[in-house]
């Protein structure tokens, strides 16, 4: 070997070494600098397990804070058929385990086996869904390696059907009805996300939890409803429904001073825990969604309007013939046959004479009379804007024929909902000032802030004097009318009006069905609460007297519940005839 070849070999070796080092450096720079972030993320993803953290949907509570709807945790029990059936089940360990689970979840073991063997290569199947904590803990204690658990946020309604018509319910697609739906923006929570790192055997590395997005809890919706009163009213309405053989029944209790709804009962109505237990028509609140021709309870509004317009006083006089003929030969009649009766306005209300009310109404222009109805809140939704709420109809005056012109004044040829009727009596009780009807007191967010406060500005429908004169006349119905014994509440002065309305048969006439109702306020001298009870009955065999005791019981319960001081002055007597 000559020194020359030795030098050549030497420099070749050095060159190769440099080239190798250069390759390593390039790769090093590539890994450590150029692609570092990507590779880091890649490796993290291999270890990291993402996790959904659930925010809690807000509660719905009554005016005293009693829970009407709350979020709870339920658990789904799942299994991996692939790992369960990895080895042939010779010693019966799988069927044994399933039998143990079935005892706890009260299922059929064969059914569980069927679920497991439906797709043996799958890694996931549900054994059961939505079990309570107790069951979850017992199944977990079995320590079966191929059984897994998932959290399932659910909704519970501890008071069942009490206020179920108002609270509504949620389904798999979220809120479905009632306040759950209308206040969903307040109640809804936002789910967060987090990641943790897992070891090779899948165990969670402690301290590796990283929250990428915090979950946000929903707000609490507070209703104006009083749960215990609501239960009583619903119970009483259900009894009324059954004893009358009614097709539907509603009751509304509203606080006079601010228009807060204390109770809104419907029958039938839904138990949100068991939505399938009632027909589809009972999933909402009929008191909001079902307009009907209210009948004579509208006469209170008529009297207040006519007095406010300056046309009448409680002792204004009219002579009611036995029939009031219209120009086309048809006639308006009263519920009882009579000869000529010389009614005062108070007397016309006590006897609920359609003829007298028509005669009293005629001198006042239809436009003015309709404008009063609008001011009392008819023909438009209430401020509650309940899910499925109806507006009712008071047609424009141009569409009124000769009969409608007077019939609207005694509650036929127009429609209103029970809540609208309650609002009318609230207005009369509140010195003629109509307050916005309120169902939701507000939304309290987790940070303590309160939003969605209801409107509190009232609008004057009639003068205070017109309202109080009307109530004095309605008091005569309780003190002098034929339902006096049923409507009187000892210790309190009550002002109430009954109504028995015919129901349009959809063919331009009126059928056998009827709507009977009683609406009123108490105490008459200083009204605190207004109550409207209504029932739709399939035939006119009952008059409003059949529901008077329901009104009495509900009003008595309201007065006792809220400890309203008894009246101290007697009712003023107004002459009914002249």
């Amino acid at each position: 070997m000559t020194p020359r070849t030795a030098r050549l070999r030497m420099s070749l070796a050095v060159l190769v070494i440099f080239a190798l080092v250069a390759v390593f450096i390039v790769r090093l720079v590539d890994i450590q600098l150029v692609n570092a972030a990507e590779i880091n993320a890649d490796s993290y993803n291999k270890r990291a397990q993402s996790l959904t953290t659930y925010g809690v949907r807000g509660s719905i509570v009554d005016t005293n804070g009693a829970i009407l709807a709350a979020s709870v945790e339920r658990y789904d029990i799942t299994a991996s058929p692939r790992s369960a059936l990895a080895r042939p089940d010779t010693n019966g360990s799988v069927s044994d385990a399933l039998a143990k689970i079935a005892v706890i979840t009260k299922q059929d073991p064969a059914q569980l086996m069927a679920a497991l063997t439906a797709n043996p290569t799958s890694d996931f199947t549900y054994l059961t869904k939505g079990v309570i904590l107790d069951v979850f803990q017992k199944v977990r204690a079995l320590n079966i390696p191929w059984v897994y658990f998932e959290l399932r946020p659910a909704r519970t309604y501890p008071n069942g059907a009490t206020a179920g018509n108002l609270v509504g319910f949620t389904g798999t697609d979220g809120a479905q009805a009632g306040v759950e739906l209308t206040a969903d923006k307040c109640l809804a929570s936002t789910n967060g996300s987090a990641t943790y790192e897992k070891g090779e055997d899948g165990t969670r590395l402690p301290g590796s939890l990283v929250t990428t997005q915090l979950p946000k809890d929903g707000g609490t919706v507070k209703l104006t409803i009083d749960r215990d009163l609501q239960w009583y009213v619903q119970q009483r309405i259900a009894q009324t429904y059954q004893s009358l053989g009614a097709t539907w029944a509603t009751a509304v209790v509203i606080r006079v001073k601010d228009g807060h709804l204390m109770a809104v009962a419907d029958y039938p109505s839904v138990d949100p825990n068991n939505v399938n237990g009632v027909p589809n028509t009972a999933l909402g609140s009929l008191a909001f969604s079902q307009p009907y021709e209210p009948g004579s309870t509208m006469k209170a509004l008529t009297a207040a309007s006519l007095i406010d317009a300056g046309a009448l006083t409680p002792v204004s006089q009219v002579t009611a013939p036995s029939l009031l003929y219209l120009s086309d030969g048809s006639y308006i009649k009263d519920a009882f046959s009579h000869g000529d009766i010389r009614y005062t306005l108070a007397g016309a209300l006590v006897d609920s004479s359609n003829i007298a009310v028509s005669l009293f109404s005629k001198p006042v222009s239809a436009d003015l009379r309709r404008s009063y109805m609008i001011k009392f809140g008819l023909n438009s939704k209430t401020e509650v804007n309940f899910n499925g709420e109806a507006e009712g109809d008071v047609h424009p005056v141009s569409q009124w024929d000769e009969r409608t012109n007077v019939a609207v004044q005694f509650g036929q040829g127009m429609t209103a909902t029970s809540v609208q009727m309650a609002s009318i009596y609230q207005t009369l009780g509140n010195g003629g000032v109509r307050m916005p009807v309120t169902l939701v007191e507000g939304c309290t967010h987790p940070d303590g802030s309160v939003t969605d406060l209801p409107p509190t500005t009232g609008t004057r429908a009639v003068s205070a004097s017109a309202a109080s004169q009307t109530l004095q006349m309605l008091e005569q119905i309780v003190t002098q009318g034929y339902l006096s014994d049923k409507l009187t509440i000892p210790g309190y002065r009550v002002a109430a009006k009954t109504g028995t309305a015919q129901v349009a048969d959809g063919k331009g006439g009126y059928g056998d069905a009827a709507v009977i109702s009683v609406a009123g306020v108490a105490p008459a001298e200083n009204p605190q609460y207004a109550v409207v009870v209504t029932a739709g009955i399939p035939s006119s065999m009952y008059s409003s007297g059949a529901i008077a005791s329901t009104f009495h019981d509900v009003m008595a319960q309201v007065l006792t519940t809220y400890r309203v001081p008894p009246s101290t002055t007697p009712a003023v007597s107004i002459p009914l005839r002249w």
Binding site: P158, G207, Q235, A238, D271, N274, P490, T560
Partner: protein, 197 residues
């Protein structure tokens, strides 16, 4: 480098071993004092190695403590989760027992009936009006709950026997104090009241 002592190579070839005189003096390179003091001392090396091991050891201990703490935190967190779950479960049960249907049915089982009118006690005559006995217009003693609550299926009602059993267990204390205590107040048959008519 220049101050290093060195032995100049012998200019003459070394004589054969047998010829080497035994008494030839031993020649050794002698380091200077400065060189001796500049030489690294073994104690330093030992100290370094020991401290290195100490650091490793401390780090190991620290990491054991940290990971032990992490496991403890994880265990406590999962315990907290379980307790929160239990609390929620109990709250749910409490809410259910707090429901109006449950309370109404339990009250009915205890023999209470709903009244339909406010009752008034006339202070001058002691009479109650309207006459009691006309209460409970529905006539089912409050037991006929018509407001469904499917969650209450299987929840036992308050047992009146259990309710009366409780006072029995505390009865001895009550009777004992009554015997030794002051005499019972005399029964007032009529409330003193001004004549208001």
């Amino acid at each position: 480098m220049s101050n290093l002592a060195y032995a100049r190579p012998s200019a003459y070839p070394a004589p054969s071993a047998p010829l080497r005189p035994v008494a030839q003096p031993h020649i050794e390179i002698v380091t200077t004092r400065a060189q001796r003091s500049a030489r690294p001392k073994v104690v330093y090396a030992i100290a370094t190695v020991i401290s290195l091991f100490a650091i490793f050891g401390a780090q190991l201990l620290l990491s054991i403590v940290v990971s032990d703490g992490a496991y403890q935190i994880a265990a406590l967190q999962s315990q907290q989760k379980e307790l929160v779950r239990t609390q929620q479960d109990l709250t749910e049960r409490l809410d259910l027992r707090n429901s109006t249907q449950y309370l109404a049915a339990s009250a009915a089982k205890l023999g209470m009936v709903p009244g339909s009118s406010p009752q008034f006690l006339d202070l001058s005559t002691g009479a109650v009006s309207p006459a009691p006995g006309t209460i409970d217009s529905s006539g089912c003693g409050g037991t006929c709950n018509l407001v469904a609550n499917s969650l209450l299926g299987g929840v036992p009602l308050i047992d009146p026997k259990a309710a009366t059993a409780t006072p029995n267990t505390v009865a001895p204390a009550g009777t004992g104090s009554a015997a030794s205590g002051p005499a019972a107040p005399t029964v007032v048959t009529a409330l003193p009241a001004p004549v208001t008519h």
